[in-house]
Amino acid sequence: MTAVVLEQVSKVFNQGRADEVVALSDVDLTIQRGQFLSLIGPSGCGKSTLLRLIADLLAPSAGTVTVAGKPARKARLDQEYGIAFQQAGLFEWRTVRRNVELPLELRGTGRAERKARADEMLSLVGLLDFAGHYPAQLSGGMQQRVAIARALAVHPPLLLMDEPFGALDEMTRERLQVELLQICAKTGTSTVFVTHSIPEAVFLSDVVVVMSPRPGRITATIPVDLGERTDATRQSEKFFAAITEVRRALRGGSS
């Protein structure tokens, strides 16, 4: 069962103008149900563009994007995914709980159920005690966890994440990576994760997709088999071998 299928997808910005940019060219990608897939590559390789095409926040110039068996646009209208950006993007005027309730509110979920769901997600990310606080009172890492709770609030089958841990320090990142994997395992979501950190991509994923720029395309698809990921995994032989493989693919792909 596939979660996402991209067929011959291309994206060109400012077509026909002097500042035309070919962000993606002839991309084919398939993501299976329950898979954790990372997109990694240097700046300008189109990984964020690719994510936004899946999310239907951009339309492809050519090719088709299919999410949960539907065209991307319908998938967005049917709310088949949750998304987390590099900035947590919480509403500063809402409490933490009300922020997590936002997508549920937009679906018309009743008040009692909204609160229950929000509390469920907040305890999943370990922030239930802060449900009544305002985002300004939380650290960057905590805000990002709230954003993840919000993305998962509707129990979506697909989770899209655009460098969500990019603005955090290394220690917080490693901890959140472990938490994220636990959550995804528990909820069974498929995940597309954009990052520019090789250890992060290897630690989190079942598949690492390496991209290169000018024009943006996929240069390698590397399966990663590390079994259950724990802190010990970061020291294992297989971990370093996979990192080396990804690094080699990155070096080889860029001209």
Binding site: R76, I83, F91, E92, R94
Partner: protein
């Protein structure tokens, strides 16, 4: 202990200023028409307090009506202008130009248009003066939207009205209050000063000119103090309202 650092310097300046003032007047034998002594002003304040209160209430009411009317119009106009980017781009410079004009000079004309026994001209002038800061600040708040919020609401396939309701309006609230703070000070000033231009004379402005014309200078200054207190009340009330309406703002 920390707030003592904050409170002490202005307190010292204030107390020192008043003492220095008193000394200057007494020692320099300065005539009251130049500068009355704080002690003389205080005694007039106490003696005239009911008059001051009546006049302050009249001016305060004018300021309040003008403030509310001008603010509502300002917010509505900003909401309208933000819908069409062309309109908002053009209206900001127009507002800047209109605000450079001495709006208070409209007072005599308005007195002609309406009866000179009506409170409306003063309230109208106040409302016009209040309109601009509220309009400009609210418009800025409505236009500045965090791009991450925008993408998020797009991912939720939220309608334009939902987006406005959940993101733009609450996000613009702090800006509305910035404009309101300026406007509340301006409203009191406008309500008081408009009386210098004629028209109905039942507020603080007229009392000040009256007392001055009777050379009762300490009394005139006492009325000025009343006006200052009124201005402070408006400003602090706006601050309080802001605290209540935007509880998420951190105290910086």
């Amino acid at each position: 202990m920390k707030w003592a650092k904050l409170i002490l310097p202005p307190l010292i300046v204030g107390v020192g200023g008043i003492l220095g003032w008193e000394l200057l007047v007494k020692v320099g034998r300065i005539a009251p028409y130049v500068l009355p002594a704080p002690s003389a002003i205080w005694s007039e304040l106490v003696e005239q307090r009911s008059n001051i209160l009546d006049a302050a209430l009249a001016s305060g009411l004018n300021a309040l009506v003008g403030l509310v009317a001008g603010a509502i119009l300002g917010v509505l106009a900003a909401m309208l202008a933000s819908r069409w980017s062309l309109l908002s781009e053009v209206s900001i410079p127009i507002a800047a130009v209109l605000n450079a004009l001495p709006i208070i000079a409209l007072a005599p004309i308005l007195n002609n248009m309406f009866e000179s026994t009506s409170s409306l001209p003063r309230r109208l002038v106040t409302a016009i003066i209040v309109f601009f800061p509220v309009f400009v600040n609210t418009l800025r708040g409505l236009r500045e939207v965090n791009p991450t919020h925008r993408e998020l609401m797009e991912s939720y396939a939220a309608s334009g009205w939902t987006f406005a309701r959940l993101v733009r309006l609450p996000g613009a609230l702090p800006f509305v209050f910035t404009g309101l703070r300026q406007a509340s000070a301006l409203a009191v000033i406008a309500a008081v000063v408009a009386e210098y231009f004629g028209g109905l004379q039942n507020g603080l402005g007229s009392r000040i000119t009256q007392a001055a014309s009777f050379t009762a200078y300490p009394r005139a200054w006492a009325f000025v103090v009343g006006a200052c207190v009124l201005g402070l009340v408006f400003y602090l009330s706006t601050l309080l309202l802001e605290r209540l309406a935007t509880p998420w703002r951190t105290r910086t």
